[in-house]
């Protein structure tokens, strides 16, 4: 019996390790290629997986062709802007939808739900026309624009407020707090984990957004990482070390953040994704 358990455990790890290899190989290949020369990268000797020498040439060349400082900054502003607006507006609206009774509430909330059920592409042309009408193409504002409010975040925060006990609110009211104070001092601090979940979710999907940045920002100096990668693909043609170096530079910051905060990431995705 003990022995069988042991074998099962080894088998289990074997399966999981094989799966892990499949998950990691693309990343490893990205790293290995980025340190090779072009001719090394296209060599077909299966026993030469590693670069003969770990060269930084591809990185240097990519960094002169693309201004990564600018790209990181644009991406950071895109993420920060969307997180800031989504968390603030959704926290306010989530409280009202979850805890207050007022005329028009259900109708307005059904619009929130409706927005979540429609494919986002339906909004893109009119949103583009608004941004271009405002003369705001090629700005940080344009990148943030579709994320100024979040129907999904509103829904998530509402669920979170609804799960809080009623007594807390009543106690605050008996202490003479009005609704605004009750929200600010008592209720909002209790939904911090939902806010963090929404923040992570929003930041991650802002980072991954590709179509919207491609549409609104066409100037080199205003695009985020995702769009920049799409653009270099044609330019660098078959220079795989450079393509992989650029990809690596684009994914590394998020991966480092993820490795540091993986608990929050996974928790955040589990709570927000599961409610969607």
């Amino acid at each position: 019996m003990e022995n069988r358990k042991h074998i099962n455990s080894i088998l289990l790890h074997l399966v999981l390790i094989m799966g892990s290899i499949v998950m990691l190989v693309p990343f490893l290949w990205m790293i290995l290629t980025a340190f090779k020369t072009i001719s090394e990268s296209t060599q077909m000797n299966p026993f030469v997986m590693f670069p003969s020498e770990w060269r930084l040439d591809a990185f240097e060349s990519v960094m002169t062709k693309m201004s990564f400082g600018r790209l990181y900054w644009n991406t950071f502003i895109l993420m920060l802007g969307r997180v800031f607006f989504a968390v603030i507006t959704a926290t306010l609206a989530g409280y009202a939808f979850g805890r207050l009774e007022f005329k028009g509430r259900n109708l307005m909330f059904s619009l929130v739900i409706f927005q979540m059920m429609v494919p986002v592409q339906i909004f893109i042309i009119p949103q583009y026309l608004i941004v271009s009408g405002l003369g705001m193409l090629n700005t940080s504002f344009a990148l943030i624009f579709p994320g100024l409010v979040s129907a999904f975040g509103t829904f998530l925060l509402r669920q979170s407020y609804m799960s809080l006990p009623k007594e807390l609110e009543e106690a605050a009211r008996l202490d003479g707090c009005n609704i605004g104070q009750t929200f600010l001092y008592v209720m909002a601090p209790l939904t911090r984990s939902a806010m963090v979940a929404l923040g992570i979710f929003t930041a991650l999907f802002a980072f991954k957004d590709l179509m919207w940045p491609l549409v609104v920002n066409t100037e080199q100096s205003t695009i985020p990482l995702s769009a920049a990668l799409a653009k270099i693909q044609g330019q660098f043609a078959a220079n795989y070390p450079e393509l992989m170096a650029a990809s690596l530079l684009a994914v590394i910051p998020m991966i480092i953040i993820y490795l540091f905060f993986q608990k929050q990431f996974i928790q955040g995705i589990a709570t927000s994704g599961g409610k969607l």
Partner: protein, 303 residues
């Protein structure tokens, strides 16, 4: 006294009304400007054709729709999108569920495995597509490299019109497994341990436990994941935009509906036609979702 209480009640109601609307105002203003009104604008736009140089809208009635129904590339794109979804969704769900079950126990390396499987989720899809394109490269890619070493012939992974959709879906599966797995792990935590203990006493095998306890009890989460995954898969764009060049022989057999939408709306600036394509996408997604909701009674177990 009663009057006073009533007075207090109406005061409370009034203040909830004022605060309530004040709190939802930013969200509702944004929602109307960014989402609700644009839906109607897109519908409206689908009946128009942009004039030369993007100036002026010419009303064309149902012309965009007629053109769409006669457009072979739209039908092909719809089929391509379905084929992508048919591969991506079931496999990403099944693999993720098995992984979640394997990881839902106290074991060494549990959180390391979880971290690894979730990793693709935090990579930008543009970078993911780029590295996979490199792996799939028919001359110098790692995959053909390995096949040749093992004595097999090279495969045209992403240029064979008949099979490319499968390999594109593999990228989708690889990218999303960790996400689905995390959701399933959250769902599995809710299943009471007693069920498994009782099954063990009855001598049920692990496989039996999986199909008789785990699957029924996780079915609401599976339903949720499959609904959201199908909706997302029907909107596939990034990986196709990044991996498929227009001169790729498999291009026509892989371009998705959203890719067509993007091309017509923003490359060819034919927003009326782009809008009509979005309306088709909306219709297809709604029909699939309604069918799924109807079918859920057959397999989803709510207790």
């Amino acid at each position: 006294m009663a009057k006073q209480a009533k007075q207090k009640g109406t005061n409370r109601a009034r203040s909830e009304f004022i605060w309530g609307w004040l709190f939802i105002l930013p969200t509702m203003l944004g929602l109307f400007a960014l989402n609700i009104i644009p839906i109607f604008q897109t519908i409206y736009q689908s009946f128009f054709k942009a004039g030369a140089f993007g100036r002026g809208n010419v009303f064309v009635g149902l012309d965009n729709y007629k053109r769409m129904f006669a457009d072979e590339s739209v039908w092909q794109a719809l089929i391509n999108t379905f084929k992508y979804a048919v591969v991506e969704v079931p496999f990403s769900i099944a693999i993720a569920l098995v992984l979640a079950v394997l990881l839902n126990r106290h074991m060494r390396g549990r959180s390391l495995y979880r971290t690894i499987y979730f990793l693709p989720m935090v990579a930008a899809p543009a970078a993911v597509a780029m590295v996979w394109r490199w792996l799939y490269n028919s001359e110098f890619g790692l995959l053909n490299h390995l096949l040749n070493t093992l004595g097999f012939d090279s495969v045209n992974w992403i240029s064979n019109p008949n099979t490319t959709f499968v390999w594109i879906a593999v990228v989708g599966i690889w990218s999303v497994i960790g996400y689905n797995m995390v959701l399933f792990l959250a769902g599995l935590q809710e299943i009471p341990q007693d069920y498994y203990e009782a099954a063990m006493i009855d001598g049920a095998s692990a496989v039996k436990q999986f199909f008789n306890i785990t699957v029924p009890l996780i079915s609401p989460m599976m339903f949720f994941v499959s609904v959201t995954r199908i909706i997302a898969a029907m909107q596939v764009f990034d990986v196709i935009y990044m991996m498929m060049d227009r001169n790729n022989p498999a291009f026509f057999k892989t371009q998705s509906l959203v890719y067509l939408f993007y091309r017509y709306s923003f490359v060819e600036s034919d927003r009326g036609y782009g809008s009509a394509i979005v309306m088709l996408l909306l219709l297809v997604i709604m029909v699939i979702t309604v069918i799924q909701i109807r079918m859920q009674k057959k397999w989803v177990n709510y207790n």
